[in-house]
């Protein structure tokens, strides 16, 4: 069961990510990103992170991506044009990322070879209660600081997006 779920949603995630990169139209990219996020949410569930999975749904695909779609529609962003700039990125981009991927996976396989396998339900420490407990005891200060960060972000967004009066 685990294997099937994992493979299916991993494939969904990868296909979504690829289509995010390859799609020409921003809306399509956005929707493929949403699919990636939903798939990831399921994987979180498999890893026993219920709360994070729900948060992934609510925050990422429910709010952030809606914001993206909203902005894309608002600006009526069309398909992008080609440009000759960024030669370095164009030519080195693919090999670089490939090398990065190879290195990363080698490191992972080296260091994680003896790690325990993932069984659904083996780790039940990801419920809202546990996360909330940690969040409000050991991580209280970072939590508060994050709230301040969000406040600042709100103010900045308002200031930026306001039509300048002139």
């Amino acid at each position: 069961m685990d294997v099937i779920l994992f493979t299916f949603f991993a494939l969904v995630a990868i296909v979504g990510a690829v289509s995010l990169v390859l799609q020409k139209h921003p809306i399509s990219s956005a929707l493929s990103l949403v699919s990636v996020m939903v798939a990831l949410a399921v994987l979180f569930l498999l890893l026993g992170a219920e709360f994070i999975a729900a948060a992934q749904l609510v925050v990422y695909s429910g709010a952030i991506m809606v914001l993206f779609v909203f902005v894309i529609m608002l600006l009526n962003a069309g398909a992008e044009r080609e440009s000759r700039k960024g030669g370095l990125a164009q030519f080195l981009g693919l090999p670089l990322t490939a090398i990065l991927l190879v290195f990363a996976s080698t490191v992972i396989t080296q260091s994680m070879s003896n790690a325990k396998a993932v069984k659904f339900g083996a780790f039940a420490g990801g419920g809202p209660r546990e996360v909330g407990w940690e969040l409000f005891t050991r991580y209280l200060l970072p939590f508060e600081v994050t709230s301040i960060l969000i406040l600042i972000a709100i103010a900045g967004a308002v200031v930026l997006a306001r039509k300048e009066i002139d």
């Binding site: 709360f51 809606v66 419920g127 809202p128």
Partner: protein
């Protein structure tokens, strides 16, 4: 018995019931609106138009599926089903009754019983906006686009006060699992006042806020800006016809059902009776049914129309029989919770229709200001207050 098989069985039971409810909700709404406006409402197809939904279904299925030439086909096709999918999926985590034992199988009355049910519902309803937004964008029509934009902005804005309003009862019952939430509201204050969050839990404010937000989330009057007929010629679904249109329609009603059921679960104590069973709460369903049956029989005896003589009588008999079912020993365990849940949710749905019949529509800026400057602070204050109360109680 196996988990998967059980789930499939439940779904097999639940899905047709849900579809039937969706279909007849339309009939109910039209009837109620009609009587609000002193009309008859659908009355031609079948007795009192009772067969109207079926006729509508046939019509929608057989209509020509007209696709404008300039739309973005894929998303145009995707949008309605996306909307319907999320709307219906959200219902699957709602428990309509306690854990019961049937044929030696212990199971809870509801599809899935997960520890983050409420969050899941929030997430799915949040996803619901994609359908509308996509529909608006893909049909490549400025009215639809405006509708889509409006609905996405509106939904994002109203999700905040909604979540805050939901949070305060959660503080009291202190769980995200819907069944535990309902069980947390069991019991009666002074043995008579139901210990529901909206009444015994003194969460009436968050209940109202939630209800208002639910109106907005489901794009209902007075917040139906995305489909404002007289501004946007019915907004995002302007370009849709036949089954796709029906999908949007069903999605809307499914959302209403979800919202009302969530409200019932969170604030109105789910399936718990309004009067303790030992004080005769268990007889209320039967009595109600018998009362309605009596009314119908009266109409059958002195009918307004000749056809009533039969139809009213038959319906009356059915209802009376239903009333007696609530006292059958085994079925009772299953039927009474269902009755209470359904009646509470049904009442809320009636409120939805009622409001639609009576309240005018907001202006868009009013809508946004209302969300951010009234509901949001109110919900925050309520949450703060509740937190203080809970903290004071806990020590």
């Amino acid at each position: 018995m196996d988990f998967i098989l059980l789930s499939i069985l439940k779904t097999a039971i639940a899905a047709p019931v849900l579809l039937g409810t969706l279909a007849y909700l339309v009939w109910i709404e039209r009837k109620v609106l009609a009587h609000v406006q002193l009309r008859m409402g659908p009355s031609r197809v079948g007795p009192h138009g009772l067969l109207q939904p079926i006729a509508d279904a046939i019509k929608l299925l057989t209509k020509e599926d007209f696709i404008p030439s300039y739309v973005n086909h894929f998303y145009y096709w995707l949008a309605p089903w996306l909307a319907l999918m999320f709307a219906v999926t959200a219902i699957s985590v709602l428990p309509v009754g306690p854990v019961i034992e049937l044929f030696g199988v212990k199971t809870n009355m509801g599809q899935a019983d997960i520890s983050i049910g409420l969050l899941l519902i929030l997430g799915l309803t949040g996803m619901g906006v994609y359908g509308i937004a996509l529909a608006g964008w893909s049909s490549n029509n400025k009215y639809s686009l405006l509708g889509g934009l409006r609905s996405s902005a509106q939904m994002v804005s109203y999700e905040l006060p909604m979540a805050l309003a939901i949070a305060s009862p959660l503080l009291i019952v202190n769980s995200l699992n819907l069944r535990e939430i309902v069980n947390g509201q069991a019991g009666y204050v002074f043995g008579i006042i139901p210990n529901w969050n909206a009444i015994g839990g003194l969460q009436i404010f968050s209940f109202l806020i939630y209800l208002i937000c639910a109106f907005a989330e489901t794009n209902r009057i007075p917040f139906d800006l995305p489909e404002a007929e007289n501004e946007l010629v019915s907004g995002y679904n302007t370009e849709y016809s036949s089954m796709k249109f029906a999908a949007f329609f069903m999605a809307e009603y499914a959302n209403i059902i979800t919202a009302c059921s969530v409200a019932t679960t969170l604030f109105l104590g789910g399936w718990h009776p309004i009067i303790p069973n030992e004080l005769g709460g268990q007889f209320i369903p039967t009595l109600l049914c018998l009362f309605f049956a009596g009314v119908l029989f009266y109409h059958a005896l002195n009918p307004a129309r000749p056809s009533d003589r039969i139809s009213m009588g038959v319906i009356g008999l059915v209802i009376a029989g239903l009333g007696l079912v609530f006292q059958v020993p085994v079925v009772k365990e299953l039927a009474q919770p269902l009755f209470w849940f359904a009646s509470k949710a049904g009442f809320l749905i009636f409120v939805f229709i009622w409001v639609r019949g009576t309240v005018p529509r907001f202006r868009y800026d009013q809508l946004m200001r209302f969300a951010w400057l009234v509901l949001f602070p109110a919900a925050l204050l309520n949450l703060l207050f509740t937190a203080f109360v809970v903290a004071a109680k806990s020590n």
